[in-house]
Symmetry: C2
Subunit: 452 residues, 2 copies
């Protein structure tokens, strides 16, 4: 069922021109005016307020552009948007048997948000359905089932939300999905991708988290491209891991699929903000196809039985060290009954000597203390300097080349799933789902930091 | 005064060969054995234990290499090391009037450390004098006055140490130094370079912090090259800022001088671990000369009067936000009488809604709350999303494109030097010594992340 013109949000001059051409949302249209020509897919109007004479079309590059029509503008319908369908949780669209089945779960964030033109702020509001309506080409890549799981900004995501997401993914896989896409805010996207990597053990099909650095009703939004790439990718790629699919550079030429436990948001605003750290992205996704970059890859196998381990113990904190850090912070967490602390230390894994008595007290109380580095890139090596050796002897666990975010999530997960403190400590230094690599290529520092 | 052979640490076969050739530490020698030839400057032996038949020479590349001598080895003295001098705090070497005067202050860290071969751990031990003996070429670049200020690993550096360093630099400048080099551990080098940038206002001559990622008695040490580059640089370059001079890539071909407030240790172990963030390094230092990269530069002016502002208020904490952050941490700092918190938020400057009541309580108590981003790169923009707008309305101060480390140090400095909370808040969003740039070039993300 295609969106009718009356539901499209257009009125006045624009509605008149569209009716005249017999064009519906999802159709490819051509606009000619003042010697210029624009061809693209007609998008619904999601803005409240603003100029009513603007029409929004999606160009073949994936960008939405707004074109201001005048009475002299010529508008024609080039072809019908045959694949675009309207679905909701209860709907079962007529499936195209040549296409894979992909579930899109929306959790909120910019990729599912719109600008409130009265206040100028961006609110999480678009439903998965709206997303699907905004990106009708999705229908060319998969039989899509879109569903709103929650609607929160990613800075407000809780550990209980990870559990909820993991359960929802398991449900979709049980229902036969060939892949699952989760639309999520970018702020804590790396934490969630790590959490789902641990919660969804033994995956039969891929799961891709996808976000957007620009609100999806803005012309420069990367939401459409990221969503299309992610949908195409999880439907077809021979992989069964939790990944994060985002722009590979500032243009729209490709996206990367990063391993869920190895990726970090490294820039506040750029479209290519996400980067694999101490590792390479595992796939490059282009309109021309999907390229494998890094081995080994956990392959797709629909017969494999998913093991759902969705629980996390919240009594874990990240404590960054810095000159003058008050050691009583460690005591505070010990006294509050925390079971784990990830120390985001300096350099190879060091902490001020002044906090050692508090660390000892925490360790004596049974707390697991794990060491990562605020350098972001590189490996922990606590055997080089006396400070590191002392911390190791106290029982601090070195997290190898694991990201702080991943170590934090992993510690919460282990504490909820392992029986003893010793098992937790042992598992923190071993790879469970590719979050640790025992050898880092020197070249990966530069490669992982470069935008391409 | 050159180091006598008896003080050189060599014995047995090596001492015999050296005596036979009439070679002293600092002389250029040539070794021929088994068809191979090695030419370099004779270094003192600083290792305890190990193979007594090894001799250490510094090649023209700046690397120290150990060569194992046998009875058949031929050793000849090529030329005397004329410039090498022994000095200590009280010594006044005969100055070469063609060379600038440079003070080297040693604070500890790898650049001034040696391996304890019994435990394998690296200890801060070498004195500034040892450094100077190990790098006799320094005498070709400046009239050097070397002094040990303290001997601590950089993870143990306290805010009071910044005060001590600032005062020592001021003293050297008053004594006529054309430039000051501070040898410092790399772990918190970025914090100290920011601290000195604020403490040393209105500088007449340059100050360069320099570290080493490899222990200075190891053959692969970068200590010598970094120290030579820094000494040459502060003696001659037309600049009067606090900078950090470190390897620009993994080879020895060049170093960068980064602005002290814009630089961060981004890798645990690489020689090119330090990178300018949201900015470019300001100088490239090669053996062939010094190149200016970025404008504007605060120029050298020996007549300018230094304003020493060496105090910092320690009651400031960094609180990183993450899923499940316990809001009571903010309350804890408020109750402990803290005057400032740097929130290392997510994305454009967001924090979980759940901590807003605790933030409000902190702000009501007069605490200054400043927002930076854990993304590392990019700018804070709290006007885009509702969460950001709410925090701004509460009084949280957006730190623009400032590093978390710099914002933390700056807040401590402002609280110790400004009269009112309002002055502190205002100054946090304005550039004092180049720590904020109002416009970031998009290209700088990639450029600042690339190794060269």
């Amino acid at each position: 069922m295609r969106l009718s013109l009356n539901d499209s949000g257009y009125s006045g001059l624009v509605l008149e021109k569209l009716s005249g051409a017999g064009a519906k949302v999802g159709d490819t249209i051509r606009i000619q005016q003042e010697g210029k020509e624009y061809t693209g897919i007609l998008m619904p109007r999601v803005q409240i307020g603003g100029d009513p004479d603007h029409i929004v079309i999606k160009l073949s590059t994936g960008y939405n552009v707004g074109v201001r029509l005048s009475a002299k503008s010529e508008l024609e319908r080039v072809r019908a948007g045959g694949k675009a369908r309207r679905t909701d949780e209860r709907d079962t669209p007529t499936p195209d048997s040549n296409l894979p089945s992909v579930a899109i779960l929306s959790t909120g964030g910019t990729i599912a948000s719109k600008v409130d033109y009265r206040t100028g702020a961006v609110n999480p509001a678009l439903t998965a359905q709206d997303l699907y309506d905004t990106v009708p080409e999705l229908g060319n890549h998969a039989n899509v089932r879109a569903r709103v799981l929650m609607s929160v900004f990613s800075e407000d995501i809780q550990t209980t939300d990870w559990t909820k997401m993991a359960r929802a993914v398991a449900k979709e896989i049980k229902s036969g999905a060939d892949g699952v896409v989760i639309a999520h805010g970018t702020d804590t996207l790396g934490f969630t991708s790590a959490a789902l990597s641990f919660a969804l053990q033994n995956l039969p099909v891929p799961v891709a988290l996808v976000g957007s650095q620009r609100s999806s009703d803005r012309p420069s939004s990367d939401a459409a491209i990221n969503l299309i790439y992610a949908t195409e990718f999880v439907g077809r790629a021979d992989v069964a891991e939790v990944m994060l699919v985002m722009h590979g550079e500032t243009d729209d030429s490709f996206a990367y699929a990063h391993r869920g436990t190895r990726v970090r948001k490294n820039h506040t605003s750029r479209r290519d903000a996400f980067q694999s750290i101490n590792s390479y992205p595992i796939f490059k996704i282009e309109s021309t196809g999907i390229t494998e970059i890094a081995e080994p890859i956990h392959r797709r196998d629909p017969e494999r039985k998913l093991k759902l381990k969705p629980k996390f113990d919240e009594r874990v904190a990240i404590v960054r060290t810095y000159p003058g850090l008050n050691p009583s912070i460690i005591d505070y967490y010990t006294d509050c009954g925390y079971r784990g602390v990830v120390l985001e230390g300096t350099g190879l894994g060091h902490a001020p000597k002044a906090i050692q008595p508090s660390l000892k007290r925490a360790l004596d109380a049974g707390m697991v203390v794990a060491m990562t580095s605020q350098c972001i890139s590189g490996r922990i090596d606590m055997n080089v300097y006396r400070t590191g050796v002392e911390l190791l002897e106290m029982g601090v666990v070195p997290c190898e080349d694991m990201l702080t975010e991943t170590a934090f999530v992993k510690l919460m997960w282990l504490l909820a799933n392992k029986k003893s403190e010793e098992e937790v400590k042992k598992s923190m230094t071993e790879s469970v789902v590719g979050e640790i690599e025992m050898r880092t290529e020197m070249a990966q520092y530069r490669a992982s930091l470069e935008a391409e």
